[in-house]
Amino acid sequence: MRHAFSVRIGPVGFRIGSDWRAPIAVLDTLYRDYPKPHDDIPDFTVRLFARRPWRRFVRPSVEIGGDFMLPEAAPLPLRQGLLAAEMAMNLQMALGARRHLLLHASAVERDGRALLMTGISGAGKSTLATLLAANGWRFMGDEFALLDTATGLIHAFPRLISLKNEAIAAAEAAWPDARMGPLLRATPKGDIRHMVPDARAIATMDTPATPALLLFPRYGFDAETRPVPPAEAFVRMTQASTNYVALGEAGFRALTGLIADVPCIAIDYPDGASAIEQVEALWAAL
């Protein structure tokens, strides 16, 4: 690999090797304030490579590789190299993480306690997390929350925030000073733009938090909150975790422990302002 980049996001260190300089240059810029892997030893290695040597130049397309391969994943054009790198990092974590139970949830923190938000793409967990961060909460991550199976604590994983389609313009308007990656049009997931988390999120990424509330948000409905029965919450979280099965006993104990300790609430909200109000009320009632 001609070009390489290393970064640590929360407890996870990555090394990205690439056949092309361009994606590395973008990663270097966007992650410039992040630390390097502990002892320079990455947890996961990612490769961005050309299937054939001449494909580095002719209709260049990026294949994703690493310790864990998904050989049937289709390649992306080079101009979407940043997306390929982010997807590759996701993939290695999803298939290989063993120290933490990966929850497909966003997380914010206040007073040492974490608020987790989980749900399908578009439900609003990513948007809600960034909104709350703009309202004084510490941003821990928009896509993965790491549950330490030994301690039950939530560790931050504040990688670049992946904004999609309409959320891009909304974020650009709400945070005109935020650092952004290139606008990637017409990716397999629509238009995407990456936003760098705020300085506080990066500076405090190594401080874990005790999980205190688990929300299942739904955007675009009249405001309503209702408890989610423990078994339903448990099953939904097994679906939302990418390494629950791989972790075996540790995963079972960690997840049943989380459900035992933390209220699970479904929250429907019509807009951001309402969401914040509802969240603050739920938090106050804990």
């Binding site: 423990p230 078994a231 448990f234 097994t238 075996g248 079972f252 049943t256 035992a260």
Partner: protein, 101 residues
């Protein structure tokens, strides 16, 4: 005379986490997590004390619980489900099972 008996996982073969009307169960031998609703957890508990035939199991359950309109067929269906999930196994023996207390 042959008889079918059913047995559950060995001691420490399961982690059990009651949630609400459902109970989550981690089966260590397979690594699979199951979600059970009554009477499955109660059946597993009963079989955990020793292998039982269908009739013996029905008797024991009737002793500890009020089975109201529970039928032998219903219990057989529950046992089939538990077998399919791998949580219990059935075997043939030649005589009455030795009762462990």
């Amino acid at each position: 005379m042959h008889q079918t008996i059913f047995h559950g996982p060995p001691e420490n073969g399961l982690f059990v986490a009651p949630l609400d009307e459902f109970t989550a169960v981690y089966h260590r031998a397979s690594g699979i997590t199951h979600l059970l609703t009554e009477p499955a957890p109660q059946i597993l508990a009963m079989l955990g004390k020793g292998a039982l035939s269908l009739d013996a199991l029905l008797d024991r359950l009737a002793r500890d619980y009020d089975l109201t309109d529970g039928t032998r067929e219903a219990l057989a269906a529950r046992l089939d489900e538990l077998i399919e999930s791998g949580l219990i196994e059935s075997g043939l023996i030649e005589s009455e099972p030795v009762e462990r207390t």
